[in-house]
């Protein structure tokens, strides 16, 4: 039974045909849990939009107040850190959801004719989402934001011909400052959302014109189809609830400490990007010197152009992965490289080698004596004293560290580091930890 209000609306707006076309779209082969990733991405985008709008209530996009306004949100506003956490983890979730969505489309050959345009608009949407990630990262205006953005923009500078001209355009001037922050803010909250919403509508419009692809065995899809409502919507809704619960749990349990306020004069800071850019960060470490342009723009350009025109590169009409050895191998190889680099990067950054318990004990001492009050390791800790992220490369001699712990000022004239009461074993353990902090472990 429809409510009287619905009947009243229907008698004026003739909703029935609209409702039918929205909800009774046939899904070839029936609803499936494998089709949820597009809806999951859309849900996360809506959540980002809502939490983002609320964050702007208390955010000031100027270098003198951005950092303070974020701290204000964190400490003074009810649920402020929760809303910021939802936005932060929602962004990560979106990268995951898009990755899975593209993987499913790739595996099912759903980009093949007649769905080339659907794929291409999807790739542009993906690029815009990366633009969101890049511009959003600067907004907290802490050290990590400032220096990570500095690195990102400098990479653009390596592009031949237009690079030198593009960098000041992105920064809004010569240096990274007030104009950069305000244009990144405008891009993040006005320009990109407008572009994204328009292209999402186009993406969905094309989807409705060409219809969902269905199973890769076409005959299976032709045998029977199922309406979008209610079973596919039910699956989408369950997944959305799961995502919301997961993102909310992360927002509640994982604190998102700001590093110190951005200090353009502190060139010792070593920024670390978000986890989803870590594989690329690792790639940059391998490709330096004359090979650097390969990582900073040649490979990315090849990747995105290849991705965009992929439906025209892969002309094999088969959709079943078994009949597509070239495409599946290419995709598998790409994933292996990305996840391999990601794993190496995470190991380098965070793992303490399990072989040497002295390093673990040294790390515990580092925490116990509050060394992070002054020193910083991979973005965590104060900026008063030298950054220790790669101190093992800078000071490879164990003796130096031991002497330095015993009497800092004797080794480094003018050092204001206090003498800590460490016994012989603690000295050795702490030195082991310092020596373990290297670029490549």
């Amino acid at each position: 039974m429809r409510s009287r209000f619905y009947q009243w609306l229907d008698s004026r707006l003739r909703l029935a045909p609209l409702e039918r076309s929205l909800l009774e779209e046939p899904i070839p082969g029936g609803a499936s849990w494998i089709y949820v990733f597009g809806s999951a991405t859309l849900f996360l985008f809506v959540m980002q939009a809502v939490t983002g709008m609320f964050l702007t209530l208390y955010y000031a996009p100027t270098p003198d107040h951005a950092y303070d306004s974020l701290q204000f949100i964190e400490s003074e506003i009810w649920f402020g850190s929760f809303i910021r956490g939802l936005h932060h983890w929602g962004a990560s979730g979106m990268v995951v959801a898009i990755g899975l969505h593209m993987l499913q489309v790739f595996l099912y050959g759903a980009y093949k004719p007649p769905r080339e345009l659907l794929w291409m608009v999807g790739v542009v949407l993906f690029i815009i989402v990366l633009g969101f990630a890049f511009t959003g990262y600067l907004l907290p205006w802490d050290q990590n934001a400032y220096w990570a953005t500095q690195v990102g923009i400098n990479m653009v500078g390596t592009v031949p011909l237009i690079g030198d001209w593009l960098v000041p355009v992105i920064r809004g001037g010569e240096g990274l400052g007030a104009l950069t922050l305000s244009r990144f803010f405008a891009l993040h909250v006005l320009f990109f959302p407008a572009a994204l919403v328009t292209l999402i509508m186009l993406h969905l419009f094309i989807l409705r014109r060409v219809g969902p692809a269905g199973p890769w065995r076409e005959e299976q899809g032709k045998r029977q189809s199922e309406t979008f409502w209610p079973r596919q919507v039910y699956m989408d809704a369950v997944v959305m609830l799961g995502i919301f619960a997961g993102v909310a749990a992360l927002a509640l349990t994982v604190p998102l400490p700001l590093t110190d306020k951005a200090d353009p004069s502190d060139t010792t800071f070593v920024p670390v990007p978000e986890w989803y850019f870590l594989f690329y960060y690792q790639l940059l470490k391998y490709l330096h010197g004359p090979l650097e342009p390969l990582a900073t723009w040649i490979l990315p350009a090849i990747f995105f152009i290849g991705l965009l025109f992929w439906p025209f590169i892969d002309r094999n009409p088969a959709r079943n992965p078994v009949a597509r050895p070239f495409a599946i191998t290419a995709g598998g190889l790409f994933l292996a490289v990305v996840f391999g680099l990601l794993a190496i990067s995470i190991r380098d950054l965070y793992a303490v080698p399990r072989l040497d318990p002295a390093v673990a004990r040294g790390k515990a001492l580092y925490a116990q004596f509050g060394c992070s009050g002054c020193h910083r390791i991979h973005g965590e800790g104060g900026a008063v004293a030298p950054d220790l992220s790669f101190v093992g490369d800078r000071r490879p001699e164990r003796e130096w560290h031991i002497k330095h712990f015993q009497d800092p000022a004797a080794v480094v004239p003018g050092s204001f580091m206090p003498k800590f009461p460490l016994n012989e074993r603690q000295l050795q353990d702490l030195a082991s930890y310092m020596l373990s902090l290297k670029q490549n472990m």
Partner: protein
């Protein structure tokens, strides 16, 4: 889909769940939507209204040595106070009027703003009254209205003496009302 579970389509039959199964899916969809909606709406509502409900206690500011105050003679005490406006902190110069009572030695501190329309008033030592230059309100040394349009006595600020120093909580009050109402 009111009439039956299937209908013909160019790609074979289109099926849709019916009966109890359909109702189950619909209930789960509604429940998921409700849970997500509530999970967001509650925190977001709190997020929006919290600055309106939060009242920050005004800080106690040191305005000078209590012993420096002459007995029975109001003295204007200038001091710098930190004003917090959201995430912006600024220093602001404020002045208050302090009077050490002749009989008890107690110190009373007045808000420096006339209760009529918010002008700054001054002490006329020859006439022993506070006079507001704007509309001619006159108050005696106890803060009571002697003449003019002021609707209430001078507003008294919370004050205390600790270690020989006078501390004041600076507050502002609505002007023009017969009772003292904090802003």
């Amino acid at each position: 889909m009111p009439d039956g579970a299937t209908s013909q389509h160019e790609r074979g039959p289109v099926v849709t769940p019916v009966g109890a199964r359909r109702r189950f899916f619909q209930r789960v969809i509604a429940a998921a939507a409700a849970l997500i909606g509530m999970g967001l709406a509650g925190p977001l509502a709190g997020y929006v209204i919290s600055p309106a409900l939060k009242r920050r206690e005004a800080p106690w500011v040191d305005v000078g040595a209590a012993a420096d105050l002459p007995v029975g003679e109001p003295k204007q005490l200038d001091h710098v106070t930190t004003v917090r406006d959201g995430w912006i902190e600024s220093q602001s110069h404020k002045a208050v009027w302090a009077v050490k009572q002749a009989d008890s030695g107690r110190i009373v501190v007045y808000s420096p703003i006339c209760t009529h329309l918010g002008c700054g008033y001054r002490w006329e030592s020859s006439e022993r009254v506070f006079k507001c230059p704007c509309h001619g309100s006159v108050f005696d040394v106890a803060g009571s209205v002697v003449a003019g349009p002021a609707p209430r006595p001078l507003d008294i600020l919370p004050s205390k003496v600790e270690g020989g120093r006078l501390f004041v909580q600076y507050k502002q009050f609505k002007s023009g009302l017969p009772r003292s109402v904090e802003l």
